[in-house]
Symmetry: C2
Subunit: 411 residues, 2 copies
Amino acid sequence: MGQQVYQHTLPNGLVLLAERMTHVRSAALNFLVPAGSAFDPPGKLGVGSVLAGMITRGAGDRNSRELTLALDNLGVDRDESVGAVNMRFWGSTLARNVPAALDIYADILLRPHLPAEELEPVQALALQDIQSLEDSPQTKVMVELRRRYYPPPLNKDRRGRAEDIESLTIDAVKSQYRRLVRPRGAILSVAGNIEWEPLKAQVERLFSAWEPGESKDPVPEVHQPQSEHIHKDTQQTQIALAFPSVTVNDPDYYAARAAAGVLSGGMSSRLFTEVREKRGLCYSVYAFHETFKTQGTMLAYAGTRSERAQETLDVTLSELRRLKDGIEDDEIDRVKAGLKSSLIMQEESTSARAGAIATDWYYLGRVRSFDEIQAAIDGLTPAAVLGYLDRWPVRGITLVTLGPNPLTLPA
Amino acid sequence: MGQQVYQHTLPNGLVLLAERMTHVRSAALNFLVPAGSAFDPPGKLGVGSVLAGMITRGAGDRNSRELTLALDNLGVDRDESVGAVNMRFWGSTLARNVPAALDIYADILLRPHLPAEELEPVQALALQDIQSLEDSPQTKVMVELRRRYYPPPLNKDRRGRAEDIESLTIDAVKSQYRRLVRPRGAILSVAGNIEWEPLKAQVERLFSAWEPGESKDPVPEVHQPQSEHIHKDTQQTQIALAFPSVTVNDPDYYAARAAAGVLSGGMSSRLFTEVREKRGLCYSVYAFHETFKTQGTMLAYAGTRSERAQETLDVTLSELRRLKDGIEDDEIDRVKAGLKSSLIMQEESTSARAGAIATDWYYLGRVRSFDEIQAAIDGLTPAAVLGYLDRWPVRGITLVTLGPNPLTLPA
């Protein structure tokens, strides 16, 4: 299967990406718009999420009900979500329905009604979202970790603050829309059984009138992360930690991914073996890498019974720290096998490809070919991972725990 | 894409199913073995889950570590899970690695070591699984509903009972293995870029020596479901309910699926519109159909703030009950569009197809073709759904709620 990727930038800044996959009948589309929660103004935390909930409630010639019906009639499975930097609109349907779906998304992005009478139910849902976090300690601990670890404004959670959401006006929502839902910095990616020239012509027709506005990446403030224990009478103790790593455009990026892979990339990985298999401390323990344009981070999570929470933290940290003491060839071989399997699975999924090409463009300004990724995976060695660990040792850990008792970070 | 499905039954009863998908490079395999939690003996509730945790800890010539390494070296993404009736082994990897993966799975199923020294960590994990349910009220309410709604032994949850798990011996685990992990009633399905004849020859070679044992479906006892409120000082109130519907081999099956679809099959569906969009009562509200061989069930779930929990239950039940008063043509058209989109997505995923052909065989003793499913979807009409609702009205509801205050089931 030769990879067919196309790219075109409109004069207003909107980037269109497409990957043609002729062996499928479906297609997925993915908009990234730089209107994430980092851009929520002070006193209006959560306005981005409220906007995402409002923006589909009527647009163009359709009221809220008509718009929802139109997308359901096309069989579009869809979702709107708000990340720290980007608001994301995802949809998946039959390839032949993509043009009709794009017509509707152009209305949503360029001509939303944002009707005042819909604000109250959207606010109620946003308040629920905050409240339900209290009943989901596994989710809450990661939210609280990111809030403390990342510098403002990257540390803002999409859920915002209850007081702020309660006091939001429709004008604040409209102002957020006008300021941020703009084509400069936005990316539309489509993957599936589509034709490039008609797609490009349609996108030019639909989106050329979208006015640029200003484009900006969020600028991180100087910040000192703080560890914290959050007391809660839960049955289990939740453990989350973070420390600095590389960004996605660093030459060490795949070495960092491989380090996370040696720790928790498969059933035979170190954390899985030591924490889960040998000691039965918890089902769910993992380390992973995540990245902003300005900083990369290694994170780890475990949720366990409170009596053995300190032991779980100790074993997890010990595994993180002893990585630098040596990595076997066959550990790296297994990481490679896992990464290659994942890559091939991704090649077979329109949603995964639409997401991957948009993410590549966002971070790198280009789409990596399968050959390039394959070569980066093939080039992994224990020495490369040890080199990364030497440059980025396990240091500056922020630890957030949630449960009945605080834990001690081992020295 | 013409569908290529193959089937072969070994003399010992094992059914092999395969779907050849030439447009992909991956393949997924799926074993269903009738060793689910319904077969956990009294006093040993949870032994099936412990067995599933033990069965991969060494088999054939490999000890626990070697077995895990062998599967990770092949890049096999995998999972073992225990349902009410079946234990399920799922794996996904490159198609060319399937033969090597099958060799290992034959060891796991036919020659597991079940080593005594591994029992303790597996027990610890099983106890965690029970404990973590207390911190996941959304999951807990569905577990508690099924426990009360379904007749024994179909109402047994895989997690079992803490006292029983603590007192399990290795002999009890071995006895469960010998009694239940048998080829009669078991199904192995493979979907992806595979060749039928070599696959069939390998499966005959690997599994012919597997001794049949007895085969049995679990026999439901006579049972009177009980509604209940479970008091818990959560932030939100969880609502779950169930009432009788048709099984998957009933002529009304697709009408029942369509009824669930009109209620919660898309953003424009009735529950979504009335509960979420108009009133902002909760993000998560849905109705769905599930089935055993002996009985089908319609279930519904909502999780919401406690002050508005009664209103949420009232609106949900009112929507369930007024379905019989009339369904519009365009509602059914949207359900059809959604079901067809899902069907096409499924055609493109090896994991989805491996699961679907095994499930079809389990319930129907045959694999439905895409054309047959398409025709069933095309044949849906408002009259067909109303006919189903007439035969299977909303009656005999079991309601389980979890939260600070009990709710009243509206008359």
